[in-house]
């Protein structure tokens, strides 16, 4: 399989045609007005501004090394100006690229300094990035052509022996496990952290469980949030969990002191003992 692909690398490299809804598209309608919404959909077919630039280079039928940066830049900016602010998220990376291109364009239009500077040539840098991206793009296509598990070959799915025989008594699961799993799903950081050392009381479990308790009960004291079976380490982890939830503004502290009647002259030191603070769900 591999040798077959190696036999014709040129064909593969050239096969970078643009597809819209699985239909190959050779040219963009040049003079046709493309409504901004449709343009955004069209732009989503690209994996990013480098992919889009690569398309423009190909469309202009030029060699990457011979690439004239100016016409490409102008075409790029013309297309991007079509993108309306409603698609700002999509536009971000494209606008960043646009600013790079404008910088390059400005530099090219200015007279060249007599003495060469130490600064990197932005045009060479852009071409280098385009080359690197093109290389990864082709590599990803080659990776995709490998025989892949669960697309080209399938694992066999087989049931285990009878549950009753496997274990005489089924473990009892708490329904709170379900809700905690949902909290974990939503509260996890951007991507999963893989800590090597297994915590006896995982922080994420405590965060999920405390969130559930507070969102259900409204307010609780810290003491009420503790799981007695977790011991000292449980107290420490719970405290960190509370701090984390406060940082994310999911919970807050309510001092019973502040909401009670204003202090009167009769108040003496005895009555002024600090009352336990309560934690409150804010979300």
């Amino acid at each position: 399989m591999q040798s077959e692909r190696l036999a014709e690398p040129s064909a593969e490299v050239q096969d970078m045609s643009l597809r819209i809804y699985q239909t190959p598209v050779q040219h963009l309608p040049e003079d046709l007005y493309v409504p901004p919404q449709a343009f955004a959909i069209w732009l989503e077919q690209f994996a990013g501004p480098l992919d889009f630039l690569l398309y423009l280079v190909k469309k202009n039928n030029v060699d990457l090394t011979q690439m004239q940066i100016l016409p490409i830049t102008e075409q790029y900016l013309a297309y991007i100006s079509e993108l309306d602010t409603a698609h700002f998220e999509l536009a971000g990376d494209y606008l960043l690229m646009a600013s790079t291109l404008i910088a390059i364009k400005t530099e090219l239009l200015l007279p060249k300094p007599e003495t060469p500077t130490d600064e990197r040539d932005p045009k060479a840098e852009l071409i280098e990035r385009l080359e690197e991206y093109a290389q990864i793009k082709v590599a990803s296509q080659r990776l995709d052509s490998l025989i892949r598990l669960e697309r080209d070959v399938f694992l066999s799915l087989v049931s285990m022996p009878n549950q009753d025989i496997m274990n005489a008594e089924l473990p009892n699961y708490s329904p709170n496990m379900l809700i905690d799993s949902l909290f974990k799903m939503q509260l996890q950081p951007d991507y999963q952290m893989h800590s090597i050392k297994a915590d006896t009381v995982p922080l994420s479990d405590r965060i999920a469980s405390i969130s559930r308790q507070l969102s259900t009960d409204g307010t609780c004291s810290f003491y009420e949030l503790l799981d007695k079976t977790q011991g000292k380490i449980g107290v420490v982890v719970s405290f960190v969990a509370v701090l984390e939830l406060m940082k994310r503004q999911l919970i807050g502290v309510v001092g019973s002191e502040l909401e009670s009647t204003p202090p009167t002259d009769d108040d003496d030191i005895k009555d002024n003992q600090i009352k336990p603070l309560k934690l409150q769900w804010l979300a």
Binding site: E150, F154, L155, S156, L157, V158, S159, M160, P161, N162, Q163, I165, M166, N167, L170, P171, N172, Y173, S174, P175, N176, M177, L178, I179, S181, L182, F183, K184, M185, Q186, L187, S211, R212, S215, T216, R248, Q249, L250, L282, A283
Partner: protein, 204 residues
């Protein structure tokens, strides 16, 4: 090693001679054997148990062909470790009960531990039922592995019931009475209240 090969080949040869009364029975046998292998493939690939109707539909079989092929499959499976198991919701392949102690000895944690991915999937089904596969993927933001669905079907915690009238008519998933039993609930109403997920997501 060579000895073993010889024994098996001899056995097989002998069996063929015995059954080969007329050429047409051989052809018939091969045809049914082909079907039985296709059934075996589908049972290995399916997330949920397969009913006789589903099997007949996917492989365009008559009731007689199906019965014969299933009998042949059962016979072939007898030489290995799997058995054809018929449940209320259809057929599935399962490791024979006699191997349960071996599995428990080698993988003691297999039965008790529920993975986070499995729990998330189950929660989405429990709280938002009926849901399709893609509904679950939408909520969790990752593709759903067939293995997780298979485990939930195996535990009898979920079933397919009905279809969503959209493109491809995907099956709708529900939780079962066995799911309620396993989590000590007598009714779905008793599930812990669902928090406002969007609010949490927006704030975190």
């Amino acid at each position: 090693m060579a000895d073993i090969d010889d024994i098996t080949h001899d056995d097989r040869k002998q069996k063929r001679i015995l059954t080969a009364v007329t050429p047409s029975t051989i052809e018939q046998h091969q045809y049914i054997e082909g079907i039985s292998k296709h059934i075996e493939v589908l049972l290995h690939a399916s997330e949920s148990p397969l009913t006789t109707n589903t099997l007949k539909k996917h492989l365009s079989l008559s009731t007689k062909e199906l019965t014969q092929a299933l009998a042949l499959l059962q016979q072939r499976l007898d030489t290995g470790v799997l058995s054809l198991h018929e449940t209320a919701s259809g057929y599935r392949l399962q490791v024979s009960d006699s191997y349960s102690s071996l599995i428990q000895r080698v993988f003691p944690q297999r039965q008790e531990r529920l993975s986070q991915a499995l729990l998330e999937t189950l929660s989405v089904i429990a709280y938002k039922q009926p849901v399709t596969r893609s509904d679950i993927e939408h909520v969790r933001g990752v593709t759903l592995s067939s293995n997780i669905l298979r485990q939930l079907f195996d535990k009898g915690w979920i079933i397919e019931d009905g279809y969503k009238e959209t493109l491809g008519r995907p099956a709708l998933l529900h939780t079962t009475a066995q799911f309620l039993d396993a989590f000590g609930l007598s009714h779905l109403d008793q599930l812990p209240p669902m928090p406002d997920m969007n609010a949490i997501k927006a704030m975190s």
